[in-house]
């Protein structure tokens, strides 16, 4: 009786996608979000680790297959290599987008290490020290001591550049999330987000929804 119910349930419910396909969807979404958002998003450590491991295994499989010169295996090799190149492009473009943001807003992200991976933190440190050494040796040492700071916040104006949090982004709503506040010129309005909506919104309005996965950037 229990086996029958399990069989019926299994036949009725849709088969779950394999973990690899879900990882591909997650990596693609991470890539598009990172390329579109003005700010650095949290680093998906587990996802990237899994993907890099699989890529490494695939590379060794390809190297083994390159040994045999069987024509049928040759074509399979071409397919595997093409797919590997696609994955490598995704990972590389994702990492480059993040590094570009770290480069542009170095001092800002130095105060937010939780968004970065350990390697990115190392990169940030060395980038920061290189830049400040360069500035000191070129002209900063000639300035009076009180004016030599790069991250001064006195006087109400901070010298540290922040990414523009109100930049416009295109987004698609994946789950009904309720209302989102938008700042109009003369008033503050609330709009409802329904599944399937495509909107142009300020990043600050959708940031939390994107991190939760209710909204994706396109």
């Amino acid at each position: 009786m229990d086996d029958d119910i399990a069989d019926i349930l299994a036949s009725v419910s849709a088969p779950a996608l394999p973990v690899r396909t879900l990882d591909l969807q997650a990596l693609t979404r991470a890539w598009v979000n990172e390329r579109t958002a003005p700010e650095l998003l949290p680093y998906p450590t587990d996802l990237v680790d899994r993907v890099m491991e699989r890529i490494g295994k695939q590379i060794s499989t390809i190297e083994e297959m390159s040994g045999t010169m069987d024509p049928q295996a040759n074509f399979t090799l071409v397919i595997l290599q093409t797919e590997l190149e696609r994955f490598k492009f995704l990972v590389r473009s994702f990492l480059r987008a993040r590094i570009a943001k770290i480069d542009t807003y170095t001092l800002h992200y130095a105060t937010l290490p939780s968004q970065l991976s350990p390697l990115e933190r190392q990169y940030l440190q060395s980038h920061q020290s290189l830049i400040s050494t360069h500035y000191s040796t070129s002209f900063l040492s000639t300035f009076p001591t009180s004016l030599q700071k790069l991250d001064d916040t006195a006087g109400g104006i901070s010298m540290v550049d922040k990414p523009d949090e109100d930049a416009a982004v295109f987004c698609r709503v994946l789950r009904d999330t309720g209302n989102v506040e938008i700042q109009g010129i003369s008033e503050v309005a609330e709009i409802e987000m329904k599944r399937g909506d495509v909107r142009v919104l300020r990043w600050s309005a959708v940031k939390e929804a994107v991190e939760r996965g209710d909204v994706e950037l396109i």
Binding site: L17, R20, T21, L22, L24, Q25, T28, R29, V32, R35, T36, P42, Y43, P44, T45, L47, Q58, F75, V78, I79, E83, L84, R86, S93, R96, A97, A100, D103, T104, Y135, F143, L147, Q148, D152, G155, G156, I157, D164, A168, V169, R172, L174, R175, I182, Q183, G184, I185, I191, R195, G196, V198, R199, V200, L201, R202, E211, R212, G213, D214, I218
Partner: protein, 298 residues
């Protein structure tokens, strides 16, 4: 050596800038005074503006599944993106578009065009788009299945599988032979273009389909352009059922306009926000602006 900075060159619109600050390193490191547009900062690591380029949208589209009819046997492969089925001619099999195009180029398979990429379906959609009554809408896109996931719990990391809702290009049956016939999927433009370029012999009337795709593209782009009039600094413009390539085309313009409007209205918004905050703190009617000032002058 004494360095003199001409004050007029660096004073911005804000009069809160302290003159002493003008001698600071901020002149070199800050975007507010030096770079021509503070909307875009191009770094060497990725010298592209935010948002996907059309080629990247094309790359994304190549992950869509299409149905192929194999001509040769091929064993199922364990790809990085998931396992593929064994190819046994002549049974149709769904495969990602990049793999289908590869097989087609090597003449090992034929791609079967999705139902919405036929003359009848496109003519019907084009009639809908050109109808005056739908001047402000795009034709409806394919039906979305109900969401299968819910919002993540607090401890879940960003992009955890449990909270990952599928979206194009991974929606089921957007371009396979079981796709919906009367609606265009998100990547309709790129899919149509790629299939017509590489698999034109698998179409019934490729020239007609090409012409219809071109017409559709023109009608939809003109609708998008008409929608530019309602672009607002507060954003929130809705454009449901728009396609991927269309967004890539107008992204630069729309983002520039919305950001520009926001900057122009920034001072007005800030003063409104200050007024709202004051009212909230002290109760309504406490703002210093007096409505009856004009009457007093009489």
């Amino acid at each position: 050596m004494e360095v003199k900075w001409p004050a007029s060159a660096w004073l911005g619109a804000s009069d809160r800038v302290n003159l002493a600050r003008l001698h600071r390193i901020r002149l070199f490191a800050s975007s507010t005074y030096i770079t021509p547009s503070d909307a875009q900062r191009y770094a060497m690591a990725l010298p592209l503006p935010p948002g996907l380029t059309p080629s990247e949208v094309g790359f994304l589209c190549e992950m869509e599944q299409v149905t192929i009819i194999p001509r040769q046997r091929l064993d199922g492969l364990e790809l990085l993106g998931g396992p593929t089925e064994t190819l046994r001619p002549p049974f149709p099999v769904p495969l990602p578009l990049w793999l289908a195009l590869l097989l087609k180029k090597q003449k090992r398979a034929d791609i079967s065009p999705p139902p919405w990429l036929s003359v009848e379906a496109l003519t019907q959609i084009l009639d809908f788009e050109m109808d005056e009554r739908t001047a402000e809408l795009f034709s409806p896109s394919q039906d979305l299945p109900a969401p299968t996931t819910t919002a993540p719990l607090d401890g879940d990391p960003y992009l955890a599988h449990d909270a990952l809702e599928l979206s194009p290009p991974f929606l089921k049956d957007a371009a396979t032979s079981r796709a919906q016939k009367d609606a265009l999927p998100y990547h309709w433009n790129e899919l149509g273009h790629l299939l017509l370029t590489h698999a034109a012999d698998n179409f019934v009337e490729p020239d007609m389909v090409r012409k219809l795709l071109r017409d559709l593209r023109e009608v939809r782009m003109s609708k998008l352009r008409k929608g530019f009039k309602v672009l607002d600094a507060g954003a929130g413009t809705q454009m449901n059922n728009v396609g991927g390539m269309e967004i890539a085309e107008v992204r630069g313009f729309v983002v520039g306009v919305v950001d520009g409007l926001r900057k122009l209205n920034r001072s007005r918004e800030e003063s409104r926000k200050e007024r709202d905050d004051e009212e909230r703190e002290n109760g309504i009617g406490s703002s210093s602006y007096r409505d009856d000032e004009d009457e007093d002058m009489l």
